[in-house]
């Protein structure tokens, strides 16, 4: 399913979207399938699956540890695409990874593998628009969305360019820093949501962990929330993981729907 279509459905229902991130292969490919199913049961609208890279500079300690568990568990891009193909989801699926894995596989092959395995969007945290022309062209050809990030530091001129090029949704980085669960909502988040003026859906990530935060962010004008570290924390605990993933997804989705 295309991302735009999902957001259209949600808009008709006046619901904010829950985009749930976990790292594929954390701690095994089989576990990932089970966890994704639990997240969908809990109400996740879009699943974002990290493809683990050895040097994840945009990620905080929680997701770094998840990535390390996945790599230790033997996850590779080949196994990643195989795992994804067997998922058969009825909601959009997004791959999040660092540029070297895409570059090394070959841009064309990577995007074709995405399309073939049912992935409808790509997020690359270390690929700003300045370096993304090649990947963007290939994504367009294969009808896969390349999702760009904007941050509180993004200047007006760069913002224009990003909004013109991004498809699927625009990923708003809620605060300066790396990924990681927080209890509050940064003041800069509301300001950023107001600054991002576009018909493309806006989803806010970095630091969201509760239904209360989710509701607040949707109320501030976002179309979706992206939650990662809070889920990965549950995986790390190894206790009742599927049940707790589902429960947290439900809390977050209720927040997003109410907001």
């Amino acid at each position: 399913m295309r991302i735009a279509e999902k957001f259209k459905q949600l808009k008709a229902k006046k619901e904010g979207a829950l985009i749930a991130y976990i790292c594929a292969g954390d701690p095994t490919p089989e576990a990932t399938k089970e966890y994704v199913t639990a997240l969908v049961r809990g109400g996740a609208d879009i699943i974002e699956l990290g493809m683990p890279f050895s040097d994840p500079v945009a990620d905080g300690p929680t997701i770094q540890a998840g990535i390390q568990r996945a790599l230790d568990g033997g996850m590779t891009p080949d196994i990643y695409f195989r795992t994804i193909s067997s998922l058969k989801l009825h909601i959009p699926l997004i791959v999040m990874t660092y540029y070297n894995l895409i570059f090394k596989r070959g841009l064309d092959k990577f995007v074709k593998d995405c399309a073939a395995s049912g992935i409808s969007g790509i997020i690359v945290p270390d690929l700003p628009p300045e370096e993304s022309d090649d990947l963007l062209q290939i994504c367009r050809k294969n009808e896969v969305d390349l999702i760009f990030l904007v941050a509180p530091t993004t200047t007006e001129s760069r913002m224009k360019r990003i909004l013109a090029e991004g498809t699927g949704f625009i990923y708003l980085v809620a605060r300066l820093g790396v990924t990681g669960a927080r209890a509050d909502v940064a003041v800069s988040t509301g300001e950023l949501i107001k600054r991002v003026n576009t018909p493309t859906p806006k989803a806010v990530g970095f630091g969201i962990s509760t239904g209360y935060q989710a509701a607040e962010i949707i109320r501030a004008g976002a179309d979706g929330v992206i939650v990662g570290s809070a889920f990965v924390n549950i995986i790390e605990s190894r206790k009742n993981v599927p049940q707790r993933l589902e429960a947290l997804a439900r809390e977050l989705k209720e927040g997003a729907a109410r907001g």
Binding site: S54, N100, L101, P152, V178
Partner: protein, 395 residues
């Protein structure tokens, strides 16, 4: 061949592969660097620090005994005599002064051997800017004297326990810190690596080495050398001495660390010879040669010299290697150790293990005639920091 600042690339290498949060900071840094690099007041102040604080110019020393032993006329560029014991201070004084002009309240850095961290601590103290240095936990053990030196000068050393606990992980952690504190903090990168403008800026600050050599060798020999040999980790001492000669008829040799073996597995390289064995990739904000496996996962690298132990290399070196302007080569751990002892015994100079790789290559290559008649070796640092390592090897 001259690199304009407005371009972020060297051929296909370089660029700015960083999180969106950092892009405005790179733009700001580029603007400030362009504004001040030819500014008379800035350069006068920098020259003052380079001369009276760092002790520049460093001598170009004719190594008579080593020349006799190796069979080629050898000059040593004595960066080991610079304050702090390595070339690293040239860069940190430049960036530190720029950070001061930019009004930055805090400096962060990564360090491998601890030499760059030490140079940051010195610059931080001089310019009165609080400084924090990320260092791989493994490196804090093998270079503990440098940790203590940094702490003495008021710098906070933060051990990095993620990944391979060496330089590449320290860079990751410094970049994460920068992402969180970009508005107040200057990231003082320690080599000609990272996103634009760092590779260009660090090269320019280090070029003082090569500029001095031009004058010094003319005075002593009335001509340029046939070849220049420098060890290469990230490549800053190499680019610093090479850059002013790139358009001259002088052969340039970038000597990488061959480690214990030139082999790689799926997870690690037993060497750090990135130009020799790496493949195109993206690491730490730049496209360059990278030691990686078939999927693009970065390998753990290895070397007896902590300062060479890095899976990437500066993009300009990758470019110059591709077009054939410099020759990538390597020395093994054991060869570097041999050369280390040669320089100690024959010249009364204790070189850094990093620099010993350059000396070792001259020892190997002199006989073939490849180096010509006159060679300049960049002695990028002194070996006091390595004495424990060397003592450990003798046991």
């Amino acid at each position: 061949m001259r690199q304009e600042l407005t371009s972020t690339k060297f051929g296909k290498y370089g660029g700015q592969f960083v999180p969106e949060i950092l892009m405005p900071a790179l733009v700001e840094l580029t603007e400030y660097y362009e504004k001040y690099k030819d500014d008379a007041v800035f350069n006068e102040e920098l020259d003052h620090y380079l001369k009276d604080f760092a002790g520049r110019p460093s001598p170009l020393y004719f190594a008579r005994n080593l020349s006799r032993e190796y069979g080629v006329k050898i000059y040593l560029k004595r960066e080991d005599l610079i304050h702090g014991g390595a070339h690293k201070l040239n860069n940190t004084l430049g960036q530190g002064l720029l950070a001061k002009y930019m009004g930055k309240k805090r400096i962060i850095a990564e360090t491998g051997a601890g030499q760059h961290g030490t140079a940051c601590a010195m610059a931080g103290a001089t310019f009165g800017i609080p400084t924090e240095v990320y260092m791989g936990a493994k490196d804090t053990v093998r270079q503990r004297m440098n940790v203590y030196r940094m702490e003495l000068m008021g710098t906070k050393v933060i051990p990095v326990k993620s990944g391979s606990q060496t330089l590449k992980d320290a860079i990751n952690e410094a970049m994460r810190d920068w992402v969180a504190n970009v508005e107040t903090t200057h990231y003082m990168i320690g080599s000609v690596v990272g996103p634009h403008p760092f590779p260009t800026m660090v090269r320019d600050f280090q070029s003082v080495i090569g500029k001095e050599v031009r004058l010094q060798i003319m005075e002593k020999e009335g001509r340029f050398p046939d070849s220049i040999v420098a060890c290469t980790g990230g490549g800053s001492n190499a680019m610093g001495i090479f850059h002013p000669f790139v358009e001259e008829d002088v052969d340039l040799f970038a000597v990488e660390a061959g480690g214990s073996d030139m082999k790689t597995t799926d997870k690690e390289a037993l060497h750090s010879a990135t130009l020799c064995k790496g493949e195109d990739g993206i690491l730490h904000g730049m496209r360059t040669k990278v030691l990686q496996n078939k999927y693009g996962q970065i390998l753990e690298s290895s070397s007896i010299a902590a300062g060479l132990d890095y899976a990437g290399v500066g993009p300009e070196l990758a470019y110059l290697a591709d077009i054939g302007r410099l020759k990538p080569c390597y020395s093994m751990d054991s060869e570097a150790l041999d050369a280390f002892h040669d320089l100690c015994r024959l010249e009364g100079i204790i070189p850094a293990l990093e620099s010993s790789h350059a000396v070792a290559y001259v020892k190997k290559a002199a006989a073939s005639g490849e180096l010509g008649d006159i060679v300049v070796i960049n002695i990028s640092g002194r070996g006091d920091k390595d004495l424990e390592t060397v003592m450990g090897m003798r046991k």
